[in-house]
Symmetry: D2
Subunit: 388 residues, 4 copies
């Protein structure tokens, strides 16, 4: 493992030097006040990153998947109904988790490449007059398709229907990289992990609960212990955890969120948009299309690029790994073999992005696709040099 | 945080230099064959550490608590009966988890300081003629009391009763430090974490399943997703995980288990016994008693030391932290304020142990306990220099 | 300091992850046998990298400049004559050092961009019939101009003249990256540092002495203490140093030379040639010229690129640093403002090189040079993808 | 190399976690303004550590020995006379260096264990009426004997004689740990290294020049290049170095001096005195004597302990290394085999010191010396717990 080239997978992302060092921490007593000096600032910082004044923040030694399970098991009971659209692998997996926990899921099948269908949500919620739907699930950014959805529109669907269901949002590949407004959008539970916008190793599930979500805990009967936010909450009050926390990762998260807040969230988002614009300019110069069906749903953290019919897009990913030592993402689920993905989130400069674009060009040329070497790079260079 | 002194908490333990570096790893693509080069050797090594030829090893980005939940939710169903003794905080917590998952727990209340009452297990199992008890829970080493239990005796109780219940063993603070025999003892599920004998940061739940435990999965109806070993198993076959793995920690676990196996497990255990003997010699020289009620249950990884009536043992822990920058463990639960704990597991030399003993002496003298400075150190020195 | 992009200066070079960790070492007793376990393998490895069976290797906590001073002061006396050509900044500086030490330097002024004039050396040596010239100085690779010289030809000049002068070679920016043959070329002293081909931080002067150079020590009267190889030699025999060694860097050098030897020196050199070919293809596509005047003197570790008259080449370096966070090298001495330099040695992949080329293109376009964006990248891509 | 125990050699010292990380730095362009952001604060900090307002600070990629050579070669000429006392290995080595550089040394032989004989200096300086002595050499803290000398008294000797000689002080094992007053004491050149009080790896020679020392440079004719402060000075003005600087170590030195100045120099010195007092209490409890002949010359950074006649003190050092993995210092030169040394400088807590004392006790007992185990520890504990 030579670790020379950056990775271009949509997470885990490249870890900045300073965060590497923040995570690489000797053992401290996690039941001592020292630990509180890490824990409390982290929670306050996450609140700010979520753009919330009231969210209760919980951080588990787990991953985004554990964050989803935290959301479901702490607020729902077997037999409860939830509403969810399936427009990619991650929304699919969340639906599957609901079903395993014996929740009744109203699934809105949605083309992979489209955003969440807020208008369908609106119809279903309006029709649910006796409020059997207890929660609405929304994936803010579908990592599998590079599609961002309009969470404000989902909130509006709830509000228009005067529907009391909780709004759960998967922000795993958006939070910390793209604008996310917990309070403005009336999010009830937001879920993310350490390994995307926070530029850390995987190992933390990060969730925010609104007061309404907190209120739902008492009635929820799905069994949980590891992910029980009540134990977590009690622990926090004593500078502690219900079990052993991942102290180094939390220290890394403190450093990471300090870094994001110091840069300014809007600057962070603009930086992601700029890098994404360069990647999209390259894709356009190649004459290729995104999986995302329209500019309003283009993700600023990952681009899924459609390859011609009859071509196995995963070959690009394999060749990049074996021939050039560069990691891209394959297509998942319905789009497996049809797209390859360039992750462009986290700690990534324009210069680093150019090396990823140049590598993709070489791979495509190697595999016989009609790509002019340097064409995508030139388009991205023009984007970057005029916006630096 | 000056990080100058070693910690003497019973985990997380002091992280050796080489393991710090193994964990501090740049991002790789966890869906690439590179990841398999970490994952598969780790699982094989853990099997060896468990002294098992057949255990299926699963490693979650979680903690020992998550390991317990993995054991319960993958093999049991709501309403199932389990048998467990409560002789310390960690056996207590596991019982609590069973109850939250609607399992019927037959609890054998046991004095904190005693080992697990195998003879009571035997009676209860013999009486359970229609085999309603589906699992027997056993905490191999009670971290709260410094008490080790005889798992072979629990197995014998099962065998003598010809009882088919599964045997689940919490080896969080024993595995990798004290002799643990998965196959010989007929353990069905063993649970541990990364942060004790493996000398790593917290963040991994490590569990081993016997073939019999694997067979129980199909019928188990407790809901689980994050901790579902079926998904994990399927992922492993593809060099992958059902979600993002904690790659650096796994790489650390590979290095840690290589280190333990290179030293030789029996040498590792003898090393722990030797360090523990020095600590116990010091305690004896102080004229103090262990919480553990007899030598056959003395733990080689942690000693809980009883302080005189009317004295708050936690004051020692607080003073050590604030005045000397040294971390000991407080008493938990029933023995809160009555004991303080010296962890002596993982990466700890005789020389390091002496500094902990010397610190405890200073604290006790500072707080007015009738301790002769140097007395415990001298006893430990004699132990160490004659056995080095 | 964000450390995200690679550096493209001709040293210090990018430090591989594994060498970072090898250098980052806790304190050991440098007077203990432990130190010998680092020192002796390092010296043996360096011998192999020099392609020598007999060179005595000395390693000082210093830099290449200290290596030069080691060469001069251990073998020469005030008033001794040396022969040297000046074809760049580093040969110039070495001449200056000779003069400060009261050596009589016969200087062959040589155009910056040309290699060492072996034929002029031959004439001068032939004319020096009473052998007043005690040493011939040769810079193998002029870092300032990107020019490699033919050391075998210099040796031939000495041999043809049957001249007994010592041959001192500055291999600071060649050894470990370009073919260097200590024994075959009859080198008497080779000088290098840790921060170029060895991919380490600066801080070590590395010198090899032939038996003939060792024999010259006794008569040399230039004062020296820190750089006295006799003390160093005596120290080595006792696993030690005459003063405190830079243990971590030496440990890094052990790892670095292991890495180079494991890859195979010829593979290392071929790798450097391949990367250099891509950079040169880009320069050619830009329609620009190298400072090096002909292909036989093109350096495989650094390219100095001439910019048009009236253009300040250093502006490219400044803009790359401030606008893109990328480090190139400026022109030095006679070629200051006339060239900028791309270092392409050490730990550098094709993918990394492409990012440097792309950055140079953006800078030149930004500064109004008639560069087609992507043109150099495309030429380099073609080179790389057909040779990977 | 397990790196578990602290080292107790009198340098290199234990490196604090934060300094390890400050040194472990990726490559930057050392000719860019970034480098100035490290260099200039370091030089300003060193001035403060020297308690000087006017000292010009120079930092070489070298060691203390290189610092000595810097002092001599930049200010003196062959044939110049210097005055020096020899009271230990390091004063001896400095005298030897003078002689190699053809300086005429007036040597005052002084018992090893005594401080510098200021009164003999006074007599010699008074007698040198035509001021042939150009420099007076003084070793502030003899690392070999654990003896501190009175530099103010040496200054007084010069002043009383109205003698214009320069005063050069070796503060390698005192600066940053014991009070050092460059301006108050009229020091002209102070020399130290990175690996003692600054708690860093070896690799930096740090020297301060008074205005008078700076003025002496022009006339000095000893040859020098690597150690020429004129080149260094010119480089600094351009944020640069005359050759490649050891950037990571300099960054470490910035962090180290920030740390010392944040703590407050007087607090740092008091901390060293406290730790030393504990060690001396232990030695006294053992009934052993220091090599240092009286309390006014006891060093606060290293103690050399005399062992009984007929006993080889180095056996303690060897046994500590092989049996316990602990590094102490052997006796050097005249006191080889007669003393062993405990270094107690840099990053060392009372708790760490106790582990060193306990180890020394075990070794002495193992080797048959009449030591009561725990006796020295108890004395040190009493010292530490009453002064914490």
């Amino acid at each position: 493992m030579s670790f020379q080239n950056p990775v271009f997978i949509p997470g885990p992302t490249n870890i900045p030097e300073s965060l590497r060092k923040a995570c690489d921490m000797p053992t401290i007593d996690h039941r001592s006040p020292l630990f509180g000096q890490i824990l409390h600032p982290v929670r306050a910082n996450i609140q700010k990153v979520l753009k919330s004044k009231t969210a209760e923040v919980f951080i588990f030694p787990s991953t985004g998947t554990g964050g989803w399970e935290t959301a479901l098991t702490n607020t729902l009971s077997a037999g409860d109904k939830v509403l969810a659209a399936r427009n990619g692998m991650f929304s699919h997996k969340w639906i599957d988790m609901c079903q395993r926990h014996k929740l009744g899921v109203t699934i809105v099948e949605t083309p992979w490449g489209d955003g969440l269908p807020a208008e369908r949500y609106a119809e279903i919620l309006a029709a649910d007059t006796n409020h059997q739907i207890k929660a609405v699930l929304a994936t803010h950014n579908e990592t599998a398709t590079g599609v961002k959805s309009d969470i404000a529109a989902v909130r509006k669907a709830l509000d228009d229907a005067k529907h009391p269901a909780l709004l759960f949002v998967d922000g795993v590949s958006s939070i910390g990289s793209m604008d996310f407004r917990f309070d403005d959008w009336g999010v009830d539970i937001a879920v993310t992990g350490s390994q995307k916008g926070f530029m850390l190793p995987a190992g933390l599930a990060i969730v925010g609960f609104s007061p309404k979500a907190m209120a739902a805990i008492a009635k929820a009967t799905l069994p949980r212990t590891f992910f029980d936010v009540r134990d977590m909450s009690k622990g926090y009050d004593a500078n502690a955890y219900p079990y052993t926390p991942a102290v180094g990762l939390l220290n890394g998260l403190k450093a990471s969120t300090d870094m994001l807040l110091d840069e300014g969230l809007d600057n962070v988002f603009a930086r992601h948009t700029r890098i994404a614009n360069g990647v999209r300019a390259a894709i356009s110069a190649w004459g290729m299309d995104l999986c995302a069906t329209s500019p309003d749903v283009y993700s600023d953290t990952v681009s899924a690029i459609k390859t011609p019919d009859g071509f196995n897009a995963s070959d690009i990913v394999d060749l990049a790994a074996t021939k050039y030592g560069v990691a891209f993402g394959t297509g998942l689920g319905e789009v497996a073999g049809k797209v390859f993905r360039i992750g462009h989130l986290g700690s990534l400069t324009d210069v680093m992005a150019l090396s990823g674009i140049a590598t993709a060009e070489m791979c495509m040329a190697d595999l016989g696709l009609p790509i002019t070497l340097g064409s995508g790079v030139a388009a991205a260079q023009e984007t970057y040099r005029t916006t630096a």
